[in-house]
């Protein structure tokens, strides 16, 4: 299906992000390679989540384009859009499980909508996906009965329901205690290693960035563009100063305190 660069699942070409009345970022060009974990990082309000919303086609760019293979997300017709959407799964910040359905129904929903499995098969697959994230026991629970970390795990199971080659995770560790957050990082690495899923991760948690990222993309809120894209360790050693400062926990180098 992807006829472009053999390693690129997704390419952004000089993308500009804007919300009404304000430009957030411009000139973003990067690609997501097969099997990599790419972290979108940056301070609060720099447009990380907005960038993710553009990459999954919920918002259309002020300029530039988002390409899946050869296909522009903004210009795809309904049929093609439906096909492109099978390419990725999304976990939103709070999980965004549909609150009127049980966890199991949440995971079964995309399966029963978009696959021709019978009801039994759908339930089996849903249970398995929940088992992959360690949530099989919560199959019949309503989302409101789950803790924040469990909601996010269940949401990852829902995002993986249709075996997309690419997963978007918006702030998976935000608001979690260090243990849950570390086990979520482990889950993310496992998904990549065992299923070969590429993962785009939006986060500003340093521990997650160093634990999981193959490459990290830094969005600078002041420059309004990306100022670095490389392995986080290398950025820490030789990246531009604001990026190193960010990765060093925000302490400015050599400034007397």
């Amino acid at each position: 299906m992807n006829t472009g660069d053999a390693h690129a699942l997704l390419r952004a070409e000089s993308l500009s992000l804007a919300v009404p009345g304000r430009l957030l970022q411009q000139g973003l060009s990067f690609e997501v390679r097969r099997g990599e974990i790419l972290v979108l990082m940056g301070g609060s309000g720099c447009g990380k989540s907005t960038l993710m919303r553009h990459l999954i086609g919920l918002q259309s760019p002020a300029a530039g384009r988002v390409l899946y293979g050869q296909h522009d997300l903004a210009e795809a017709d309904d049929e093609e859009l439906a096909r492109l959407r099978r390419q990725f799964g999304v976990m939103f910040q709070g999980g965004a499980l549909w609150s009127s359905m049980t966890v199991g129904e949440n995971v079964m929903m995309p399966l029963s909508e978009f696959s021709d499995m019978d009801e039994k098969g759908v339930e089996q697959v849903a249970r398995f996906k929940l088992a992959l994230v360690g949530m099989e026991a919560a199959f019949d629970e309503l989302p409101s009965a789950l803790s924040g970390g469990m909601k996010k795990r269940a949401a990852i199971a829902r995002a993986m329901a249709l075996d997309p080659p690419l997963l978007f995770l918006d702030e998976p560790s935000a608001g979690l205690d260090p243990i849950s957050s570390a086990s979520l990082d482990e889950l993310i690495l496992n998904l990549r290693d065992h299923l070969g899923t590429s993962i785009v991760l939006v986060t500003h948690e340093l521990s997650s960035i160093f634990a999981v990222a193959d490459r990290a993309l830094f969005l600078d809120a002041k420059e309004k563009t990306m100022t670095a894209l490389d392995a986080p360790r290398r950025l820490l050693e030789s990246g531009p100063e604001p990026v190193r400062q960010f990765l060093r926990r925000g302490e400015p180098a050599g400034t007397p305190v």
Partner: protein, 382 residues
Amino acid sequence: MGEAQQSETTLGSEAQAQWLQDEQGLRLRLSGDWRGKRSLPPLPPGASAAAEPETRPALRIDGAALTHYDSCLAASLWALHRSSKAPLDTTGLAPALSGMLTLAARQSANDAQPSRRRPHWLTRIGLAWQARYRRTRDTLAFTGELLIAIYKALRGSTAMRGEDLAHQLHATGPASLPIVALVSFLVGLIIAYMGAAQLQRLGAQAFMADLVTIGVVREIAALMTGIMLAGRVGAAFAAQLGSMQANEEIDALRALGLNPVEHLVLPRVLAMALMAPLLTTFAAVVGMLAGLLVAVGIFQVELLDYLYRSSKAMTLAHAGIGLLKGSVYGVLVAMAGCRQGLHAGRSAQAVGEATTAAVVQAIIWIVIAASALTVAFQRLGW
């Protein structure tokens, strides 16, 4: 300005602050117990007129005689720094106090200025029109999507789930019966009573039956049902969809390629379209019953006479028009609720605003539709 100036403020028994002018510039001498105190004396007149902000001499703060203090004092000093636009020299203060002020100065130096300056008035007019345009476009797009979803449903290829529709039917219909019953009974009572008082002057209270029956069946039952549904069900729709929007649940549907209009809006609108005429019928019966009680109980109209006149007055056209109006109002209420909920902002505040907007919009739409339909039917002679 050259000579030494003094102004003194005495605060409480011990807290004292005093501006002193010496060869190095202005110095504020603080002494005593400053816990919970916050009024510093104003700068001596003329002191703040000096030069550009960058070149103003530092205001020295002398806290040698300070016995007690808390962050109130730090806050007042910070306010002084902000209003005088002059730097503070805090070396004469206790480390805790000067530390606090230094920290505030350092933090605000690299403060992310969220460039929220008030835009030019022309820009503001433009932005306001843009927002208005966007709202109108959203409403139109929403209506279009809804029509497409209904068309799909009529062709039998809808993604709407039957259980969603069943759930909404229950939530809109049976659950609204008590409030609809109460309101229609009372409104029926009022119409009968007011009407009878006028008719009695002509000795024509026998016509009460016509008045109540036509009034209630043709207009009032539908109107009251619509307004009750706006408050009870339309608001709930807006709040449900609004909090789903705030929680990104609607984005989760969209990202999967599931159409929120088909999954969330269609079952609600259909439920209202089906339930509103039933509720209108119920409201009409209750309203007529109230009229009958007033007529028979208070104005001594013969029961059989009333029933006979009532059944004569009630034509198929009146009943049909009443039911049609009920359905129209119900659909409008559902549309207003879903439209506002679906386009709500992403905060708890926005959900509340969407709910209010849904009820207001529903009632406005109902009143406009009521006027248009009434005039239209009168013109048609129905």
